[in-house]
């Protein structure tokens, strides 16, 4: 109002007169308002209201953001700025019982790409292909696969395991490729390759599921996928350290302070002996099969060989699709750990279980059965492996000679229910609890099982088959080793241990008298001395064994047909060769179980393998008598046999 009244009084001032004159002199004709201009009243109010509104709205809003919620936003700004960076902790090494390194860490160089810093991704990927020799489509594939697993300002690992010469070359040229960075990672290496592949398993980069299950894992972390690497993941992995990293919005690092030191994983020493493992591997000579060597008193495993195997370094480095397909589709199943993941009919090795059962069920070892070479059941004929028959057989001689008829008839007398009960109590039909993944249970057939599986009732002939380890019965080699060890240690079914410092763990006990165990051990000793397991017998040590030849296919043989020789059969139809043995020398005792898939006869194929294992354990046979037999065996030979 003040201003307006001033304006109204203005024409009277001399200044205004002067201005008017100047206006008249102006070269341009200017249209003038004839009357005094009054701004529209509504407009004047509108403008003032708008300015007032602007002030009010913004001051209130700034107060809300900066004072009312200021602390909250200040915290968010701090979180923006500080990031936690993990420091890799070295994974624990794995050693054999003599500290030979089985799983090691090595430095590997890789190349990573930070998308946000890279101006021309196609050209950069093409350059990576040029450097590394990896085909461009494969790099694109990796890029597309992992692109959204990391944020655009985080490095995306594109290739790994660049050799050192190439690293030097890339380093000299990398300045021209923004966004690329050479990264150093530790990688796992397995110097023994196939020899320990199934025991150690392998590590590989954690997948999305593993990362979501375990918050400690991040993209690019190595995690155990198979074998002990998987089972011992917690001990081996160690604990990552942490840096507080101040970063800008492009994740460029401005400064680091250590918040937590990394702690390396534990070094694990196995009970396995690399030399023994190698000897067993060599003894198998490339045949498909497996060898278990176990200490019967502690349950510690000394060798665990399965053949064929694979090179676990392939997985640790990131296996190519071609290699993976080759392994997966191989007819020899190199990915199968035959010791624990394959199930086989046990064949005559099973008679060790049956004999113990018979003794526990009150059948006298002296009761004899006449073997004529076959038994008739209805119109079915069940043969003994020996065409002409064994003649009169008692329990011991039937084990030594592996007479089938003896077991047919006595098993028939007890019935399948008792067979099933005892077999299950002896550790069959369930995992042994070994610290390796994917252990199979095997199968002890029963009436209920058959009803469930086939919808038909049990028939007597099937009891015959089960009694000699054929038919539906399926076991894993490690179960056999645990059973034999229990015979020697007095009935403790031990957890097979892979670690050097593992305690003796009794999973359960076989419900049998000590005499029963002694009888079985002694029968095995005699079998190794004069019976079917002669091949492992040696003068300088106390030895025992039982062979088995497990039929894979039920061959329909009319009376008078001769059994085909292995060499005359298709590979996949040949018998599995078994031998379950024990040996003691100089106070050390071992259980050795050998299984050769489709190998043929137990004594001719599996036996020599076991013999070579003992040659490594005890040295070549010196021919000298054993200095001292283990106490269990001694007592057995003395008193027990006299009964």
């Amino acid at each position: 109002m003040m201003k307006r009244s001033k304006r109204l009084s203005a024409p009277e001032t001399p200044d205004a007169q002067a201005h008017k004159k100047e206006g008249d002199r102006s070269w341009l004709k200017i249209q003038m308002d004839s009357e005094g201009y009054q701004p529209p009243r509504g407009g004047v109010i509108l403008l003032q209201v708008l300015v007032g509104l602007l002030f009010f709205v913004f001051v209130v809003r700034f107060w809300y953001l900066q004072v009312h919620r200021g602390e909250e936003f200040a915290r968010q700004a701090q979180e923006n700025r500080l990031r936690l960076e993990r420091i890799f902790a070295p994974r624990g090494r794995i050693l054999d019982d003599r500290d030979k390194v089985l799983a090691d860490n090595r430095t590997a160089y890789g190349l990573s790409l930070t998308r946000e810093d890279c101006h021309d991704i196609p050209a950069t990927l093409a350059q990576i292909s040029l450097w590394s020799g990896i085909p461009l489509p494969q790099i694109w594939e990796k890029y597309h696969q992992d692109r959204f697993k990391v944020k655009s300002f985080e490095p995306l690992l594109l290739i790994t395991d660049i050799d050192f010469d190439l690293v030097a070359r890339i380093e000299s040229e990398i300045y021209a490729w923004p966004g690329l960075e050479i990264v150093v990672r530790t990688k796992r290496s397995y110097p023994e390759k196939e020899l320990f592949a199934h025991v150690l398993g392998y590590v590989a980069e954690a997948n999305e599921q593993e990362m979501s299950n375990d918050p400690a894992l991040a993209m690019g972390d190595l995690v155990g996928k198979q074998g002990l690497e998987l089972e011992l993941e917690k001990q081996l992995r160690g604990h990552k350290g942490l840096y507080d990293v101040e970063v800008d919005a492009h994740a460029r690092v401005l400064g680091k302070t250590l918040r937590e030191e990394p702690r390396g994983g534990h070094e694990m020493r196995l009970s396995l002996d690399r030399g023994l493992q190698q000897a067993a591997w060599d003894a198998l000579g490339g045949a498909a099969g497996c060898v278990v060597v176990m200490e019967p008193d502690s349950g510690k495993l000394r060798a665990l060989v399965t053949s064929p195997a694979y090179d676990n370094n392939l997985f640790a480095a990131g296996i190519s699709q071609r290699d993976w397909d080759a392994l997966r589709t191989s007819k020899r199943f190199p990915l199968q750990n035959r010791v624990i993941q394959s199930v086989y009919p046990p064949g005559s090795v099973w008679k060790l279980v049956m004999a113990a059962l018979f003794l526990e069920r009150g059948i006298s070892p002296r009761e004899s059965v006449f073997c004529s070479g076959q038994v008739k059941l209805g119109n079915q004929i069940f043969r003994c492996w020996k065409r002409g028959g064994h003649g009169s057989m008692n329990m011991e001689s039937s084990l030594i000679n592996s007479c089938d008829v003896y077991f047919y008839l006595l098993a028939e007398r007890l019935g399948i229910d008792k067979l099933e009960e005892f077999a299950k109590a002896s550790g069959f039909g369930k995992p042994t609890g070994i610290d390796l993944p994917h252990e199979k249970s095997g199968l002890v057939p029963s009436r209920q099982w058959k009803k469930r599986r086939f919808g038909r009732p049990w028939v007597r002939g099937e009891t015959y088959n089960v009694s000699i380890g054929q038919g539906y019965t399926l076991v894993t080699p490690v179960q056999v080793a645990v059973y034999v060890a229990a015979m020697l240690n007095g009935g403790d079914l031990l957890k097979p241990q892979l670690l050097d410092d593992a305690p003796r763990v009794v999973q359960s006990r076989i419900p049998a008298k000590p005499e029963t165990f002694r009888f079985v051990v002694d029968a095995m000793r005699k079998t190794a001395g004069v019976g079917t397991a002669r091949v492992v017998g040696r003068k300088d040590a106390d030895m025992g064994g039982k062979t088995g030849t497990a039929q894979v296919v039920k061959l329909k043989m009319a009376a008078g047909d001769r059994r085909l020789r292995s060499s005359e059969m298709e590979y996949a139809q040949r018998d599995h060769a078994w031998i379950a043995t024990w040996g003691a020398k100089n106070g050390k005792s071992y259980v050795v179980v050998v299984m050769v898939e489709h190998g043929g006869g137990g004594s001719s194929v599996a036996g020599p393998v076991a013999k070579k294992v003992y040659d490594y354990l005890f040295g070549p046979d010196t021919g000298a008598p054993p200095p001292a037999a283990p106490p269990a065996a001694r007592r057995q030979t003395g008193e027990e046999r006299a009964n």
Partner: protein
Amino acid sequence: MDKRLFSYINWGLLACMLLLYFLGVGNLYSASGTRLGEGLAFAGFYQRQLIWGVCGLVCMLLAMSFDYRQLRNLAWPFFLVTLALLLLVPVAGKTVYGAKRWLSLGFMSIQPSELAKLAVLVLAARLLARDGRALGWKDFMAVLAVGLVPSALVITQPDLGTTLMILLILGGMILFHGVKGYVLKTCLLAAPCAAAFMWFVGMHDYQRQRILTFLDPGNDPRGTGYHILQSRIAIGSGQLWGKGFGEGTQSQLRFLPERHSDFAVAVFGEEWGFAGCVALVTLFCLFLLAIFSTAVQAKDRFGSMLVVGVFFYFFWQIFINMGMVIGLMPVVGIPLPFISYGGSATLVNFTLLGIVLNVSMRRFMFKG
């Protein structure tokens, strides 16, 4: 030119304007700093803004040097030339970021849509200055057409921000001048329909997305919502007294996008806090009031309408830009006068204020 003219200059306006300009340069100095490891690296934005400021002052003096009433005679030619240039854009324009807005003159590029704002402002001032009666339907439509014709051309470029500015400036001027009650009521009823029409027909997907994100920024924190969230964090974390000049982590560490241009005021808010923001808002309000006082003091209706046009030119930019930065408005690419970096914007701002000062200077002339 009579030296005594200077005694009538609106010194308050000049002072506000220079204060804002130097605040802007200082803020740009801080916003240009980027911490890289140790120490700060500076981009040259504040230096260039200083140079543009000098050029702007020259433009301002030029805009003050002639009698503003000559603009009335130039209004139509200026408007028609601008329309011609706008028509040329689709034919001969350069495409930058998917939009055709620029005409290359060989030695420099111009943006005819920027000229359109000024041309509409001047022509509307001329048309509205004919008499002081509230507008009936006929006059209202005539004035509106002055804005709608160039708007239709600008929006196809596409340039939503400029179109909005043209229509808002024009609308402000019409409201200031006054319209008949029934026209106003009809327009108020028609506004929601027009908004719906814009939403479904006139907008691109990315523009719709911006409005949706504005309504719920948490929805898309790494995409469109990132700007809004980071700018709110920047301003909010300034708290009462700010982090201090050059200490803003959000801007120094580049979490804040567009911190030189559209989001420059967020840098200011982070470093000067609530106290600084209130001071800045107060300064802007004083600045607007200074323009307003010139509008009411003007000797003639044309001068007054010109100044009102300039008032709205600044008012809407301040309102929309600050509103956007503090999350009251969707993200629209409109800079904050004097605070945001921009060469041509600085030139236009100074030129328009030159015209306001021109009107204030000559408020006592030719009074018969």
